[in-house]
């Protein structure tokens, strides 16, 4: 029997780690992640959760401890945000290279300077190439379900990849919603204990991560990580079906299509901006405007095939990025363009950099994007990348 709880995105992540029976939790505080690890400390102290809680001295060490614990054969969980995540950078590469299914919640927050603790995807986008699966959530329920699903998929012997489950700072991390929290038995039935065949074991001693030369095996190891991502893309969808059957709730696929199948004008975005966009789509549809939304949930593995199918028919596609690759454009925009380039149907694409450092992305902001896209659809000249809602004149600033 599940229970309905009104909890924040952060507490949802804490509950998920307990329900998934994470056995080792190295923890380090950072706003706005802190309440996740505080809640876990409370669970452990009360005896509800049987985990080894390590008060590490940094996020870098948190990830190092997760990796070594996972290689010893146990389930691990940690959570971080912004500076904590980028401090982990070296170890993020290590986690994927060592093929450890470490699962982590990351609260998407801006990087300093200037200090800013609000929603921004720069922290996780700059970890794109570390080999981690990256999922972006737009509701607290999705946080819980994604964490369970990630353990299920990542621990499979042919996957063995780490996964980062992303929540927007405050907008999700500190907002309470009704969450359907399954009971322990339900989760146990879906997610068996992690017992990898290959681990640090005194009865079968192996060396992990020894020197590999250019001529042999290093490149093959890297190829296998790509292969595991390809498998994970399929496995996430398959296991989501099993999840739905088990918990009675859909998780869906790597992308979510919202009134976009018959839309001429589609906005692609992620996370909580997508939730706002759904409302805007509904009201614009009521006005008879031909708009839809495609939400990318899985940024890694990147859903190239799904996007081609979902966007090929559009007259124009906009991509709203909550981060920016300096010297170029929004990273999501680059990736979506890349996905469509070799497709036979290639609509014009416009990139919007929005909501940086937690600047509000209001319904009116999104409506403005659709207004702009409609003009592009009508053949008006357009700028490929726009920064939205800058204070002052955009042209002056840019």
């Amino acid at each position: 029997m599940s229970t309905k709880k009104v909890i924040s995105g952060n507490y949802t992540a804490s509950y998920a780690s307990m329900l998934c029976r994470a056995e080792v939790v190295p923890a380090y505080p950072i706003t706005p992640q802190t309440t996740i690890v505080e809640k876990i400390a409370e669970f452990v102290a009360s005896g509800q959760m049987k985990a080894q809680y390590i008060n590490v001295e940094s996020e870098h060490s948190a990830m190092a401890a997760c990796i070594s614990a996972a290689l010893t054969g146990v389930r691990t969980f940690t959570a971080t945000s912004a500076h904590g995540l980028v401090l982990m950078h070296e170890m993020l590469h290590w986690a994927a290279g060592a093929r450890t299914p470490v699962i982590m919640a990351n609260i998407n927050r801006a990087l300093a300077p200037p200090w800013n603790v609000w929603a921004d995807h720069t922290d996780s986008m700059s970890q794109r190439d570390t080999g981690w699966i990256q999922i972006y959530c737009s509701s607290n329920q999705e946080v819980l379900d994604t964490l369970i699903l990630c353990y299920k998929v990542c621990e499979q012997p042919d996957i063995m990849l780490p996964a980062m489950v992303n929540l927007d700072a405050f907008i999700l991390s500190h907002t309470s919603e009704v969450v359907d929290v399954p009971d322990q038995k339900e989760v146990d039935d879906f997610l068996p204990q992690f017992n990898p065949e290959i681990k640090l074991d005194v009865d079968e001693p192996l060396s992990f991560g020894t020197l590999a030369f250019p001529s042999s095996w290093y490149m093959e190891w890297r190829y296998k990580i790509q292969h595991a991502h390809d498998l994970a893309a399929k496995r996430l969808v398959e296991e989501a079906k099993a999840f739905e059957k088990h918990f009675g709730r859909p998780w869906g696929g790597l992308i979510e299509e919202y009134r976009s199948k018959d839309a001429e004008i589609i906005l692609v975005t992620m996370s909580t901006i997508a939730s706002t966009t759904k409302d805007v789509v509904d009201s614009l549809r009521d006005q008879g405007r031909d708009v839809g939304l495609v939400r990318i949930k899985s940024f890694r593995p990147f859903p190239t095939k799904d996007l081609r199918e979902a966007l090929g028919h559009a007259k124009v596609v906009g991509v709203a990025d909550r981060s920016h690759t300096f010297g170029n454009e929004g990273p999501l925009f680059t990736e979506v363009k890349g996905a469509l380039y070799n497709h036979d149907r290639r609509p014009p694409l416009v990139g919007f950099t929005v909501g940086i450092g937690g600047r509000d992305v209001l319904g009116s902001t999104i409506e403005g994007l659709y207004d702009h896209l409609e003009k592009v659809a009508d053949g008006e000249a357009y700028k490929e990348v726009r920064w939205i809602d800058l204070i002052g004149d955009e042209e002056e600033v840019v």
Binding site: V24, S61, G73, T76, S207, W217
Partner: protein, 300 residues
């Protein structure tokens, strides 16, 4: 000594075939340590000479489970291993972190400090070759005063290492660590006894092993043990242990000359007798202080 067999454990957990240099002191250090720990040991090794020495994939010279980890995270890595074993109720395994002086006294000191402060049951060994050897003899904070390295070059405007060696054992004592000691590959029985003591500690332990490096110290490989022995006899590397704050210093009748020790190694050859004289004074000062610590703490 010729022909006399040392009464050491027979078991070899490090097979022949490592790829360290001829005469590598770090190699002896590992071999003796594993003889002490036995096979129920998990070892974590960061970037250092020993990251390469076990061999090239898929080979390994170890007969114990072993992971490579990043340069600065040895102590965090063994914290994770210990936590994982605790999670599964496994108690009879020694968790060993094995790092160089750079990986310990420099880049890894934060993680080490964290682990010791938390009281994690794990053994941390720093094998000290007094520089970053894996990357080709660069200065570390454990490089002794006066030494040439490739980043403390001796040129027209002389610039050997001016700062004294960082004392890791004292830093561990300041953490209130239950057991810490120095050991030297020239005294394997003592080394093994110390590792065994460390294993028995219900908490963190730290051993600093003196491990001469012919390649980096610029001496012929067959003099490794001789140099190791001289370092202790000359009191440059005193052998002592600190158990719950109580110091015990190993005393030797035999003495060796600091100047002779230094002149055997290319890395010190540029020093004048005057400079060696002032280094000698600081060696004696520290040794006298150690004896006072011993007296003071044993009385308490």
């Amino acid at each position: 000594m010729a022909g006399k067999k040392l009464p050491l454990p027979e078991e070899e957990l490090m097979d022949p075939g490592h790829v360290g240099c001829l005469g590598c002191g770090g190699c002896h250090a590992m071999r003796y340590t594993l003889k002490a720990t036995g096979p129920r040991t998990i070892i974590s090794i960061p970037a250092c000479c020993w990251a390469v020495m076990p061999g090239v994939y898929p080979n390994t010279c170890f007969n114990i489970p072993h992971i490579n980890t990043a340069f600065e995270v040895t102590a965090a890595s063994i914290s994770g291993i210990r936590a994982a074993l605790d999670a599964r109720g496994i108690e009879d395994i020694t968790v060993l972190g094995w790092a160089g002086d750079g990986g310990t006294a420099d880049i890894g000191i934060q993680a080490l400090s964290g682990m010791v402060e938390r009281g994690t049951k794990a053994m941390y060994i720093m094998y000290d070759n007094e520089a970053y050897m894996n990357t080709g003899i660069q200065r570390s904070s454990s490089t002794p005063i006066g030494a040439w390295t490739t980043t403390t070059q001796v040129g027209k405007v002389r610039d050997y290492k001016r700062a004294p060696k960082k004392n890791m054992v004292e830093i561990m004592v300041a953490h209130g660590i239950p057991y810490t000691a120095t050991a030297n590959i020239a005294w394997p029985k003592d080394l093994i006894a110390k590792v065994k003591k460390a294993m028995a500690v219900d908490g963190p332990s730290f051993i600093h092993i003196f491990a001469p490096c012919p390649t980096g110290w610029r001496y012929p490989p067959d003099r490794t043990l001789e140099i190791a022995r001289m370092a202790t006899h000359a009191k440059i590397f005193p052998l002592y242990e600190v158990e719950n704050g109580v110091y015990t210093v190993k005393k030797f009748k035999k003495e060796a000359s600091i100047s002779e020790y230094m002149m055997m190694q290319g890395r010190f050859r540029h020093l004048t007798q005057e400079e060696i004289g002032s280094i000698s004074e600081s060696v004696v000062r520290w040794y006298d202080k150690l004896l006072k610590f011993e007296l003071m703490t044993q009385e308490e």
